[in-house]
């Protein structure tokens, strides 16, 4: 009996000392809502870079907007949710956590794609993770990649530790986009990811689903005005030596392939890795037919194939996607596969 009491008292002494809950240290803008009719594309909260990205109809830009904002539990925001925003001067929001200790600022950025020619000459560097991203030729930040997701797994903080980066091995000018399939690391293996397939795409990376549903984290598409007819560019490709399946087993009968395509679809909701091939919002496709090795830069010029019966609406969006492993979304590919793309263009009617 005595022993029993001793054990019980031991267990109780461990469970009875749960301390008071800490005040919430988080300071996120969780949602930022504007009437959909004001948008050309859904609002993006870029949590990794602390930006609110807005894709606005010209009227909304001119007259301003009144967003509804939800922040972390217990946190406060300035300016407040429901205050009207006028564009022209820089705007930023500051969120203070419930704990009062933490403060986070989000810059509001109005994104407009002015030019659909991408020469990949200008690159930025993310801080603090040190991965690269390209700017559009008009200075807009419209490209993303899987790099932000790979940053979470804690790879080395240098550009060439990430699958997508700049290279001086370009076709025109001084730089191009290099996309490489890399081996996974210890942290990615905890969630069953054995390779990091390289990707570059027009759109955004949503970190929140990076581990639960990685294909959904790649949100494809930027608003486009006009009628695209051709997708052109230059590429070269070298598949890695050993193709492996999602469990990391070598599949000798397979050789890795690259993927380069453009998809036109009805927004403002973006497509993602799970529905980019199948969504019924798709209006037209331009898909690179030859996915095999190309030692030298090879030009492609692909007409958009409009889906019969699909009607282009007034919130059209366009996604360009390039990957060093065509089956990378399923974590199938060859470590070392390398795709370089340069001078991508969407030709309008």
């Amino acid at each position: 009996m005595k022993q029993f009491i001793l054990v019980i008292s031991l267990v109780c002494s461990l469970t009875s000392c749960i301390k008071k809950a800490p005040l919430n240290p988080e300071a996120d803008i969780e949602t930022f809502t504007i009437d959909k009719t004001f948008l050309t594309g859904d609002v993006v909260i870029d949590q990794a870079n602390r930006k609110i990205l807005l894709y606005l109809q010209p009227e909304a830009y001119k007259n301003g907007i009144v967003p509804k904002i939800v922040v972390s539990n217990g946190a406060t925001i300035s300016p407040a949710s429901g205050d009207s925003l006028k564009f022209g001067l820089p705007i930023s929001y500051t969120v203070t956590s419930q704990s009062g200790i933490n403060r986070k600022s989000y810059d509001v950025v109005v994104v407009m794609v002015g030019s659909w020619t991408f020469n990949f000459e200008w690159w930025g560097l993310n801080d603090p993770n040190k991965y690269e991203f390209p700017y559009g030729d008009d200075g807009s930040q419209v490209w993303s990649s899987g790099n932000p997701g790979i940053a979470i797994t804690g790879v080395d903080k240098r550009p060439d530790a990430y699958p997508m980066r700049s290279t001086t091995d370009g076709y025109l000018g001084t730089k191009a986009a290099e996309i490489v399939t890399l081996p996974g690391n210890d942290v990615s293996k905890m969630i069953g990811i054995k390779i990091f397939p390289g990707s570059l795409f027009l759109g955004n990376f949503n970190s929140s689903s990076a581990m639960t549903n990685p294909p959904a984290a790649t949100e494809f598409g930027q608003p486009i005005v006009g009628h695209p007819i051709r997708f052109t560019g230059y590429y070269k490709y070298a598949p890695g030596p050993l193709f492996q399946d999602s469990d990391g087993n070598t599949v000798n009968s397979m050789t890795d392939r690259c993927a380069v395509y453009a998809i036109l679809f009805n927004g403002p909701q973006r497509l993602n890795g799970s529905n980019i091939q199948t969504s019924n919002t798709i209006v037209a496709r331009a898909v690179l037919p030859d996915q095999s090795a190309k030692g030298d830069f090879t030009r492609f010029d692909i007409p958009f194939d409009y889906t019969a019966g699909a009607l282009p609406g007034n919130q059209l969006m366009l996604a360009i996607v390039a990957s060093s492993s065509a089956e990378g979304a399923a974590y199938r590919g060859a470590i070392g596969s390398r795709l370089v793309v340069d001078s991508l263009r969407i030709i309008m009617q």
Binding site: T15, C17, I18, K19, A27, Q47, I152, G154, D186
Partner: protein, 252 residues
């Protein structure tokens, strides 16, 4: 540090008594074999506020088997030691909030995940130790004995693994971006220290001339993980109660 000093001082006292005892007599020893069960947890002495709830706990079946020897020191006093194979384990499911963790990759210190986790954690521990206790025993009458001393243990086989689920991590800390986690496995077995030491306290009741039952508390003073390991950022220690049954070996 103070605890370690006291323990060391105590052990010196014990060893000194053994030496003194050797000169007096040499036939006052008792040898026993014992089996037992370890019940307890690997836990910090005080739970941090990032642990919000213990949802479920199972002590697991953690047997011990050992040999112990008692040497008479002076009337009513004995010096005890021995060797024991100890399983020390538990299964626990708990809810945590903003729990700091840093997981280093094996490929080099520069790579790894650092951040905070909010959600459910499930951990299974089952370590096997070879334990060497050293204690003074006071036997005022015929039935009851009381022990106080320390122990040193070598880790023979580690197991510390589990998974996190239904939650999210924040990259870098509370202000980093939120990443949902459905299920992620961890295995920190090879990060556990190869040794453990701590305090030993016990009560023993004699059931006649051969058999006795005991309750012994082993209070670990050594952190399960070295401070350089930050995957579990709290000072976990072995806190165990052993319930044992001993059989006195006949004199050879």
């Amino acid at each position: 540090m103070n605890k370690i000093f006291l323990l060391t001082a105590f052990l010196f006292f014990v060893v000194d008594s053994i030496n003194a005892q050797d000169q007096k007599q040499d036939d006052g020893s008792i040898h026993r074999v014992s089996i037992g069960l370890n019940l307890g947890a690997i836990t910090p002495t005080s739970l941090p506020n990032t642990i919000r709830r213990i949802d479920a706990y199972n002590p697991l079946l953690c047997p011990s088997i050992g040999y112990s020897a008692l040497f008479a020191a002076k009337p009513h006093w004995w010096i005890g030691t021995g060797l024991k194979l100890d399983y020390k384990g538990m299964w626990v499911k708990d809810s945590v909030a903003y729990f700091h963790t840093m997981i280093q990759g094996n490929n080099g210190a520069a790579s790894g995940f650092e951040g905070s986790f909010t959600g459910t954690n499930t951990t299974t521990v089952r370590n096997v130790y070879l334990t060497l206790p050293l204690y003074a025993q006071w036997t005022p009458g015929k039935k009851w004995s009381f022990q106080l001393g320390g122990y040193f243990a070598f880790l023979l086989r580690p197991k510390f693994e589990g998974h996190v689920s239904n939650g999210y991590i924040r990259n870098g800390g509370p202000l980093g971006e939120k990443v949902s986690v459905d299920y992620a496995e961890f295995d920190f077995s090879n990060k556990i220290r190869r040794f453990d030491y701590g305090l030993h306290a016990g009560i023993e009741k004699s059931l006649g001339s051969k058999w006795s039952v005991s309750v012994q508390w082993q209070w670990g003073l050594c952190r399960l993980f070295p401070t350089s390991f930050t995957g579990v950022d709290i000072p976990l220690k072995n806190m165990y109660v052993n319930m044992g049954l001993s059989y006195r070996l006949p004199k050879i």
